[in-house]
């Protein structure tokens, strides 16, 4: 019997090793796997490379992990906002590396990894400092930049409803990076609001199918206050 359901967020992240690359879903707090991130803080892995659109808020979730010095490198699109203070402090102190990637390129690099592709050419960032040193080619008259796949050892994602096969649905714009990151990691762990019996999710509404999901656990939406 296939059963990807694990009892807790702590159990779900127990084997994460120091030095791992971890893809973290969400756009701001929408669709962020906040409970898995809290569990990762307790779990203790360090020297991590984290891939996420943002760098967390205040002192919880991804921001708390960064504040505790557990993140070696951040790969993201948008780290500069007031509540990203944990990242800012570490970055200014030279204690964390930043790879800044345009948002569409960030997600497409993970899609390429998940789809088994060796990369892609994109017009995004051509002739800017973010493409400095990268191979370019003129395709159909447009300067395009070679971007390489971005794969995770783990992906931590948030969904709405799952079943024991790992089939997933999402609520509204919680979806964002989550289905793409689910494809792009060796081990994908999903936290969801609800687990339902097999067959209870209409096959037409499943967004991420079971083969992309390795572990799933029920977590209420994490609320820091």
């Amino acid at each position: 019997m296939i059963n990807k359901v694990v009892e807790s967020a702590m159990t779900a992240v127990a084997d994460v090793r120091s030095g791992s690359t971890i893809l973290v879903g969400g756009f701001g707090e929408a669709g962020s796997p906040a409970t898995l991130l809290q569990a990762l803080i307790e779990q203790g892995a360090t020297d991590l490379t984290m891939v996420s659109n943002n760098v967390g808020y205040d002192d919880y979730g991804l921001a708390a992990l960064i504040a505790r010095g557990r993140v070696r490198k951040m790969i993201c699109a948008f780290p500069n906002y007031a509540a990203g203070i944990a990242f800012r402090n570490r970055y200014l102190a030279g204690q964390i590396e930043l790879e800044l990637v345009p948002q569409g390129t960030l997600v497409e690099r993970m899609r390429a990894a998940g789809a088994g592709l060796g990369g892609f050419f994109t017009p995004t960032g051509a002739e800017t400092e973010l493409s400095a040193g990268k191979e370019t080619r003129v395709i159909d008259g447009v300067v395009q930049v070679l971007e390489r796949p971005l794969k995770g050892d783990y992906a931590l994602i948030r969904g709405k409803v799952a079943d024991r096969w790992g089939n997933l649905t999402y609520w509204r714009a919680q979806r964002n990076f989550n289905p793409i990151m689910a494809m792009a990691a060796t081990t994908t762990i999903a936290e969801v609001s609800e687990i339902v019996p097999l067959g209870a999710i209409d096959p037409d509404v499943i967004i991420t199918p079971g083969p992309f999901i390795h572990r799933v656990t029920v977590c209420p939406r994490y609320n820091p206050t």
Partner: protein
């Protein structure tokens, strides 16, 4: 005619006028966000948000807040009837793939060639790019909404951008508090000017040559509610 600069709302209104029924548009942060106010009513326009919303509605009232429905600035918003939710890869396929009719963005500088710099302020300790480069590279039409000069009174329309570039040769039209300027293959063309200003005065505040055909039409500020 009273000589004055346009308000941010009036700049937004001017841009809203060029958006046609059925268009799929992305509105950046700042003045571009205000454009949405002037789209309601007569036309059906699909507003795209990078995080996977097509059919984004107005900001959410306190009793409507759903933390999983936010705009590109992470503020709670609403969905209109007909809205669709997509994943991030599909959202940026829409942007890069030529399916976005118009992107309206703010800018630090625009050059006479249509180069745009809007992602990194020199001196900002932490850089951030978000979706700006994707939108500039991919939108079918890119227009900029900004003040004509910076806080120090220096021109933001320049011969060559000195700030880090977001994209080259992409800006089609610049809407400022003083003028509407089209970017052509031969440089900048003054389309309309703010009430009471002359082309000569505008040239003083513009860092690149302007093609001017007199008489220059004054930006019409009636024919749409400006609140």
């Amino acid at each position: 005619m009273e000589k004055r600069r346009l308000t941010k709302e009036e700049i937004a209104l001017c841009i809203a006028r060029e958006i046609s029924e059925g268009a799929c548009v992305n509105l950046g942060i700042g003045i571009p966000t205000l454009v949405a106010r002037y789209l309601a009513g007569e036309r059906e326009v699909m507003v795209h948000s990078e995080n996977g919303i097509i059919g984004m509605g107005p900001p959410a009232a306190p009793d409507e807040v759903d933390l999983d429905i936010v705009d590109a600035g992470k503020r709670p918003v609403t969905l209109v009837k007909g809205a669709a939710i997509i994943d991030h890869a599909t959202s940026f396929a829409l942007v890069r793939g030529g399916h976005l009719d118009l992107a309206v963005l703010g800018a630090l500088q625009v050059s006479e060639h249509g180069d745009i710099a809007n992602w990194r302020i020199p001196g900002d300790a932490v850089p951030g790019v978000g979706g700006a480069m994707d939108l500039c590279a991919g939108a079918k039409r890119l227009v900029v909404a900004m003040t004509h000069t910076d806080r120090g009174g220096e021109p933001k329309i320049v011969a060559e951008c000195t700030y880090p570039l977001t994209a080259r040769r992409k800006v089609c039209t610049i809407y400022t508090d003083l003028a509407v300027i089209d970017v052509g293959p031969d440089g900048l063309h003054l389309r309309e000017i703010a009430p009471g200003w002359t082309a000569g005065e505008l040239r003083q505040l513009t860092g690149a040559p302007l093609h001017v055909e007199e008489p220059v039409p004054v930006i019409a500020l009636h024919g749409g509610a400006v609140s």
